[in-house]
């Protein structure tokens, strides 16, 4: 069990703000309560360094609801994300994959997850520091003064 999150990057150059906000309307219509049953959708539109973003939340994520971040990016922005993802994928082994899944499964409900630390800290701990257990991960975060 882990945090149900997916990042989706939509590439269009130049970024079309009006079209992206219209897209938000279409997604809202698709994921309406009639379609999603008891799910509810919370929305935020924001501009960040990575471009425009729709944060779509289907239910309470701490109780297993999906969180889908939809980013409007250009080819360069996509390239940076692709590079990061490819680097992680190349380093994955059976041992590191299981370590990541194990740590995620035990940390995703922690109140500081996605606040003080995130999945990126888990990937870095496992792939860069060869951490293989939850106890080692907490010690790693304390050493970096990310958690007390």
């Amino acid at each position: 069990m882990a945090w149900r999150e997916m990042d989706v990057h939509l590439v269009r150059e130049p970024i079309d703000r009006s079209a992206f906000f219209a897209l938000g309307g279409r997604v809202a219509a698709l994921l309406s309560p009639a379609h999603a049953l008891s799910r509810r959708a919370a929305w935020r539109g924001l501009k960040s360094a990575r471009g425009l973003d729709w944060g779509i939340q289907l239910g309470e994520v701490h109780q297993g609801g999906w969180k889908i971040d939809v980013w409007a990016t250009g080819p360069r922005g996509l390239g940076r994300v692709q590079e990061y993802c490819d680097a992680i994928e190349k380093q994955l082994t059976e041992s590191s994959r299981l370590a990541i899944l194990k740590i995620k499964s035990e940390c995703w409900r922690h109140p500081e997850y996605r606040r003080a630390f995130s999945s990126a800290d888990i990937y870095s701990a496992v792939l860069d520091h060869r951490i293989r257990s939850v106890d080692e991960f907490w010690a790693h975060l304390r050493q970096k003064e990310i958690v007390s």
Binding site: A19, F20, L30, V81, I88, S95, S96, A99
Partner: protein, 56 residues
């Protein structure tokens, strides 16, 4: 417990959970979300730690 010390059953449980989430994501996209997202631009998706390409 280090991941290297997991039992076969524990390993299978973790991998099964990951596969189940992938299936949920596929289902979500197949419900029409894939087509709606593609109406804006070329869509690519990721679901770390593995590359997830449910939009292809």
């Amino acid at each position: 417990m280090r991941s290297d010390d997991l039992t076969t059953g524990q390993r299978e449980t973790l991998l099964h959970s990951e596969a189940a989430l992938r299936a949920e994501a596929d289902e979500l996209m197949a419900s029409g979300l894939r087509d709606v997202l593609a109406s804006y631009g070329t869509a690519r998706g990721w679901w770390l730690p593995d590359a997830f390409d449910g939009l292809a």
